[in-house]
């Protein structure tokens, strides 16, 4: 569970009133480490805070065929799915400032629509080829 009451309040606020169910698929090595234990505890706290957040922990050995199928580059990895798989993957513990960002992703996936402006949506529609974004963040 989160170590600080403030963190729990952020989680409670972040998942309050989710529109639709969200599934967190947590792909993690079969042998836990300090880091993966903390990561799993954070995800369990998020899932416990809302009956619309479902956590599935897949603690298994590396399976290259599976990782390719579910499009994860490494483990541990968190896949955030809503009504469908939107191709959103998170690597690392979403704590500190990144906790709020992670909760914002959960809310967006729950809503199931981008909320982007019409101009942005038009720009996206013009995209001809696949686009893979990597967002490099730090938990500060």
């Amino acid at each position: 569970m989160p170590s600080e009451p403030q963190q729990q309040r952020v989680i409670d606020h972040g998942v309050r009133g989710l529109a639709h169910p969200v599934t967190l698929l947590y792909y993690t090595p079969d042998v836990p480490s300090t880091a993966t234990a903390a990561e799993r505890a954070m995800l369990e706290a998020i899932a416990a805070a809302s009956d619309r957040v479902h956590l599935e922990v897949l603690a298994e050995q590396w399976d290259a065929a599976r990782e390719e199928r579910v499009r994860i580059a490494r483990t541990p990895a968190i896949v955030v799915n809503g009504a469908q798989d939107y191709g959103i993957r998170y690597y690392g513990t979403p704590d500190g400032y990144e906790l709020e960002t992670f909760l914002a992703i959960i809310r967006a996936v729950s809503e199931g629509h981008s909320g982007l402006s019409e101009a942005s949506r038009a720009a996206v529609r013009a995209l001809a080829d696949p686009l893979h974004l990597e967002v490099l963040v730090a938990p500060t």
Binding site: A35, R71, A73, R74, V80, Y86, G87, I88, R89, Y90, Y91, G92, T93, P94, E98, T101, F102, A104, I105, A108, V109, G112, H113, S114, G115, L116, S117, A119, S120, R121, A123, V124, R125, A126, L127, A128, D129, P130, L131, H132, L133, E134, V135, L136, V137, A138, P139, T140
Partner: protein, 68 residues
């Protein structure tokens, strides 16, 4: 970061990896990261820092749509 997720929600052609550089520091070195967040598009640094939606979308899509 949630702007990237919103792009992925908008289009099945867009996928997003959010990477905490504390666990994968080599990525920060590879992309010359000097500010957070840094967004890399198809392997190339595209956007640094928190940007308004219009600017962010323009910067991450520009090389791929021909948009100004």
């Amino acid at each position: 970061m949630s702007l990237s997720a919103r792009l992925a929600i908008e289009s099945p052609r867009i996928s997003v990896d959010v990477v905490n550089i504390a666990v994968l520091p080599y990525l920060a070195v590879r992309h010359g990261v000097d500010d957070i967040p840094t967004t890399v598009a198809n392997g190339k640094k595209a956007c640094v820092g928190v940007r308004p939606e219009e600017a962010f979308v323009r910067e991450v899509l520009r090389p791929r749509t021909g948009a100004a």
